[in-house]
Symmetry: C2
Subunit: 598 residues, 2 copies
């Protein structure tokens, strides 16, 4: 099985005309699967690449490493050399491989000088797929019901959809039926029995449907797309419900790390202005980190201020577009230490309809439209009238003297006060001891515990050092469980000790086990520390001690690296990890911090 070239629209490379047509169909299918909100940049156009967002969406070891070595500006202007449409073999998830080359700084200079319209062509996004799909309306998308995915029955085809997309049946027959031959994004063939029966009569897919559901691991809530080309060829795609996409190995990240440029390679390519590749999954995250130049430049110097109202489009669960409104509650870099001046999700917002609690409270300027005045520049008088909440405005670019200090963000940033203030002081300690040398090496660990620690604090206090003599008791660390977020203590005293606590806001976190095959993969681990909020608990005998942990300042996600020590035989630790067979184990996890209340 090979990966079908979804990009044959360019022609030239593809000799056979039939294949080219299939390519066009695939291109449409790709966009259909990607959803209405996804648009890709055109080949040859200029985009803005935000490494910050790229790292944020990259999970695991690769991201961890990149976060420390990535020394690139927050906004990189790139020329799009090539756009390749792809689909995950395992999940059918669509993604694009973008080949980019960093542009010279003159372009950026022009932008900073206010020449925002230079080289800005609003039409530069790749709307081929969209317009093409408008030209061929023989497509439908249905969110699967419980009955559709049950083993008990088949797939109920909406009448309009069947009449539109499937070859017509002879309705004069008692139970007209036919066999549908379809191909997915990979070119794999799927055959279904299409029958028109029942009382009242309806279109159903029976034989073959169950196998499809099983193979694609579809669950109710996922959506299937059927698409008929002009030549009558049927294609089908799937669009999964937003769910656990965080299986590292089923995501394009895998390729990213293994076969293409790793993040560190990207960093190198940026500095040398050579080409690099990005596997870009626009559905993986609501915030894009590849932005058309015109879109970015229009917003770069826009005078946002707290209180402004705005609109923003989301994709609803049934893959439809939905407009939401909200108000800007704060402005400020999400990571002023590492990415000062970045616009990546620099706007803090509150939504008018708070029904969806999980929605992000940080957006990037180019994601939103200002209410009332969409494209014009300075007509926010009307916006000011609507302002209901008055919060102190914060200057966007915060100076970072010495690279280690940072300013007070004001009250509007209070919710991230503690966590963003954390910084690493050389804690990346790997202890590869073993039975033979563990005793002599334990002194090193103790040194680490006493001397080095995580520095944290905020502008109200000086840095506090937390030693590592403290240890956490680890309870069951079992396969399939989830990792809980690091929570700040409930009392806001700056001297409180960070702790691991079982919380309600848990983020399914796939531990990145480098190259582990599917059978052995650790899908998630869970741990919880003391339940008392004030102080971490000392472990008794047998448990695993926390010898160190490590926090980074990456936006909206943080990372903890635990060095555990303890007998794997103990009841208090049990982990599907071969390295636990040794006396030490290291656990690295990345999880979101953005939803932590303080």
């Amino acid at each position: 099985m090979g990966i079908i070239d979804l990009n044959a629209i360019d022609g030239g490379e593809c000799a056979a005309a039939a294949e080219e047509k299939a390519g066009v169909l695939c291109l449409e299918l790709w966009h259909a699967c990607a959803g209405p909100l996804v648009s890709l940049p055109r080949k040859g156009s200029v985009v803005v690449y935000l490494p910050q967002g790229h790292i944020e969406q990259t999970v695991g070891e690769e991201s961890r490493r990149a976060r420390t070595v990535f020394d690139a500006p927050p906004h990189v202007f790139c020329r799009v050399i090539d756009v390749q449409l792809r689909a995950e073999v395992a999940t059918d998830e669509v993604y694009a491989q973008l080949s980019l080359v960093a542009e010279g700084e003159d372009l950026e200079q022009r932008l900073r000088e206010g020449m925002t319209n230079a080289d800005a062509d609003e039409d530069e996004t790749d709307d081929i797929g969209k317009s093409a799909s408008l030209g061929t309306p023989h497509m439908f998308c249905k969110t699967l019901t419980a009955s559709d995915t049950s083993t008990h029955g088949g797939f109920s085809v909406p009448r309009r959809a069947a009449e539109d997309c499937f070859p017509p049946l002879d309705y004069k027959q008692q139970r007209p039926s036919q066999e549908l031959v379809t191909k997915d994004l990979h070119g794999t063939e799927w055959r279904f029995r299409h029958i028109y029966r029942g009382q009242p009569r309806r279109h159903l897919l029976t034989t073959g449907w169950s196998a499809f559901v099983n193979k694609k691991k579809l669950v109710s809530g996922d959506a299937v797309l059927f698409m008929r080309g002009d030549n009558g060829e049927l294609r089908l795609g799937i669009r999964r419900a937003a769910q656990l996409k965080n299986t590292v190995h089923s995501s394009p990240l895998y390729d990213q790390t293994m076969n293409l440029n790793s993040l560190s390679t990207v960093a190198g390519a940026l500095s040398t202005k050579s080409m690099f590749h990005i596997l870009y999954n626009p559905r993986a995250s609501p915030s894009d980190y590849i932005i058309p130049y015109w879109k970015f430049s229009k917003r770069f110097n826009y005078p946002f201020s707290v209180g402004m109202r705005f609109k923003m489009c989301f994709e609803t669960e049934d893959a439809a577009e939905r407009r939401c409104t909200g108000v800007i509650t704060g402005i400020g870099d999400i990571d002023p230490i590492r990415w000062p001046g970045s616009k990546w999700r620099c706007l803090m917002v509150r939504w008018d309809d708070d029904m969806d609690r999980s929605r992000t409270n940080r957006v990037s300027p180019w994601e939103i439209e200002l209410s009332g005045s969409v494209s014009s520049s300075n007509s926010f008088a009307s916006i000011s009238k609507r302002t209901k909440i008055s919060l102190p405005s914060v200057k966007a670019d915060i100076p970072v003297p010495g690279g280690r200090d940072f300013s007070d963000f004001g009250e509007s940033l209070r919710f991230q006060k503690v966590l963003q203030g954390q910084e690493i002081i050389g804690l990346r300690t790997s202890y590869d001891g073993n039975y033979a040398s563990s005793h002599q090496s334990s002194s090193d660990v103790n040194n680490l515990g006493n001397g080095v620690g995580v520095m944290f604090g905020n502008s109200d206090t000086s840095y506090k050092s937390m030693g590592f003599g403290e240890s956490l008791q680890f309870h069951k660390v079992l396969q399939g469980q989830e990792i809980f977020p690091l929570e700040a203590p409930h009392n806001s005293s700056p001297s409180s000790v960070l702790m691991f606590q079982q919380g309600s806001t848990h983020v399914p976190c796939n531990q990145s086990m480098h190259g582990v095959n599917d059978r052995d993969r650790v899908d998630g681990i869970s741990y919880c520390g003391s339940r008392e909020p004030s102080r971490v608990a000392r472990t008794g005998r047998g448990g695993c001690k926390l010898f160190g942990f490590h926090l980074t300042n990456a936006p909206a996600t943080s990372e903890v690296e635990l060095t555990l020590s303890g007998s794997p035989l103990s009841n208090e630790m049990n982990m599907e990890d071969r390295s636990v067979g040794h006396s030490e184990a290291k656990v690295s996890a990345v999880y979101a911090l953005c939803s932590i209340p303080i």
Copy 2:
């Protein structure tokens, strides 16, 4: 599920006495699964480590790299710091993690001076497991029949085995039954319904058995072991039939590369005399590369000569020991370039019973016992009488002046004449061009083609340089196909050009795709070049050109690294490899050469 510490025999670290007992049981179980021929060195003893054999058993990228950088003597004397018994999570395959430290050269010096009995204790192997299992005969091992593994029925327990290992049943009842609770090497619990029924009555495992077979992916021919500890606790293990163990990811090699010291790290540790770890699977290969010192030293300077007869033990398919006899047909280093003076599989042999064609025709001196005179040193007079074939004896240690020349091995080594003569002259060229820069970089490729090349030849000729202007036409490169061995030309002219040719001796070769998950893994590729033996063919348009290849002198295996160039859209190349999406692809493969006739 965690990895049970199988090594609790040491005590001390493990607090609970019950767990310690379980550890003892696991140790026995480990040895039972490993088979009767496997013995591990004792902690603290001295062994001889043969990097050559280690590399030979390590497949893939890691081995490829190690083969070029490993700059260690062929025999390294090491102190065993620790021995950890392990079992593969995926396959239950047993292996051991050995922690070794290279000893000073004085020990080796003593050996070379003939003090073969110094520090040589024949009792130094770890026979705890064996003797313990002799002390607890409550164990049985049964090779699974078709009925045992069928979904139709359960597991038929041999009567003696059931009476020996299982708790007694009340035979007065109509159909006595009980539930057996067993644990495997990982501590995972398996419950079976044990019933005594049928006409005639017999012991059966019914409920639970099928799940076990499915989960462990047992097939008929595999064997299961049941073992009852003194406390009545039941353990079970499996011993798979020799089969496709060549799934890279299911082998301990994975850990080797990822979590522990890689081979290159071992090379470093050897030079600095620091500790290194080896994941040692004694069942993976018939030849051990970790040898007890006494065993090695007894044979190191032994005056082997062609014609000597010997005995050797093998494990038969039903896990029993079997003695085979043969005659030495030649003596010589398997790789005089890289490992001069190595004793690793330096004896060429012919077996008396040629029923098993696949048996190796090279053995190491310590693997065999000389017929008639086993332990005494110089009584090979009787052996000489038996000599039937007279071949010229070859001196074992061949001088390698300048590190690049080599001597004629004599007629007995003729079969490896051409291939062993090859050597690399700095060919490891990786071309990571891309669309943007491929044109300007092509000159580099041409430079490579004209200037650098593989040097090959033998003692009869001077070195011949083969340029890389030549190119091979690649036909279908498809998933699932196999790679064919590199064959020397059929005419023995030393100026012949090495070529890729479709041959009868193909070796299933797993391409090592670093960290690829199971679905995407390239299981094998095939290629064939021109069918005319004298000259490689020039490719026409569209095909893939061979820009370079690379041969190493590793024993019994060789390696070719191909740098391909060509459009992946062309009909002549199609590969399940995403990197082919670029203009270049690199293919690396390792395969055996030992069975190539010339």
